[in-house]
């Protein structure tokens, strides 16, 4: 299927705030993109890819992403992922996917105890079957420059699970210079089959040179 006829769904929760930016990311890549509301189910056959955008869904109540992860729309997201559909979680979307059990680990408060906002360099580690798989910077020694903006982006996992994530090639990106105390410098992870991916940095905020970097463009093929 060519991107021109492919449809991408952007899942909106109350408090999502990067939804429109992600719509732009999809449109720049030639996708037809629309929003999916957290209270609705959807027909998984209508979409070729899904993105859970950043923000502060449910005001981060209980734990970041915890309440969104139990929204009705997540039943459809889960079915879509189970059938191999590509799902990407960015920032709060990454937190939602870990809370939903679709990605391993958890995101906790930054070790600095502060919200961090700035540019980071990312080292590609293992390829997703879809997301950023054709990225021009995905090469040995290549790095991607993307912005971060989070208070709870420190990747955490108990030692056994961390070993499993490392051994099974589920580390997607590492920070070149760790901004938040993430274990093993992990910035993004994959599920076991590589179709579900999550990262704390924001590819949708790096689409044009005037934004500071164009490295977000290659996340959609």
């Amino acid at each position: 299927m060519t991107p021109a006829s492919a449809r991408l769904g952007v899942v909106r929760f109350p408090g999502s705030n990067c939804d429109r930016d992600v719509l732009s990311l999809a449109q720049v890549a030639g996708y037809q993109a629309d929003f999916l509301w957290h209270l609705d189910h959807f027909n998984i056959q209508d979409y070729q890819a899904l993105v859970l955008p950043g923000g502060f869904s449910y005001g981060d109540y209980l734990r970041a992403g915890a309440l969104s992860a139990r929204s009705p729309v997540m039943n459809s997201v889960r079915d879509f992922a189970k059938r191999g559909g590509p799902v990407l979680g960015i920032c709060n979307g990454f937190q939602v996917l870990t809370e939903a059990g679709l990605l391993p680990g958890a995101l906790v408060k930054n070790s600095s105890l502060r919200f961090r906002d700035g540019w980071v360099d990312l080292v590609p580690e293992n390829k997703s079957s879809f997301w950023a798989s054709q990225h021009s910077q995905w090469k040995v020694g290549g790095q991607l420059k993307l912005p971060i903006a989070h208070g709870e982006g420190r990747f955490y996992s108990p030692p056994d699970l961390l070993r499993q994530i490392e051994d099974s090639g589920q580390v997607w990106f590492r920070y070149a210079d760790n901004p938040n105390g993430s274990l093993a410098n992990i910035a993004g992870v994959l599920n076991e089959t590589g179709n579900v991916a999550g990262l704390m940095p924001h590819p949708e905020r790096a689409l044009w040179d005037w934004m500071g970097s164009e490295d977000g463009r290659g996340f959609l093929r």
Partner: protein, 75 residues
């Protein structure tokens, strides 16, 4: 309660304030108290509370939890 390995940011902040006010404690950890009102006998309620805890209230990677029966509520 947050697991021991998790940085308990609220606990640390309170420890610091206690220290600054000469009320130092060896440590301070901050958890969460959730009160549920449930129908049914205490056994049924406990099962339901456990189900709710496992469904959403508790992330086993980060936290531990225990259920405490608070007694009968007046009808």
């Amino acid at each position: 309660m947050p697991r021991e390995v998790i940085l308990d940011t609220q606990g640390r902040a309170i420890e610091q304030t206690l220290r600054l006010n000469n009320l130092a404690a060896q440590s301070c950890r901050v958890g969460r108290f959730v009160e549920l009102t449930l129908d049914g006998s205490s056994d049924v309620s406990k099962q339901q509370a456990d189900k709710i805890a496992k469904f959403v209230l508790h992330n086993p990677l980060l936290e531990t939890y225990e259920l405490i029966a608070l007694g009968e509520v007046m009808k």
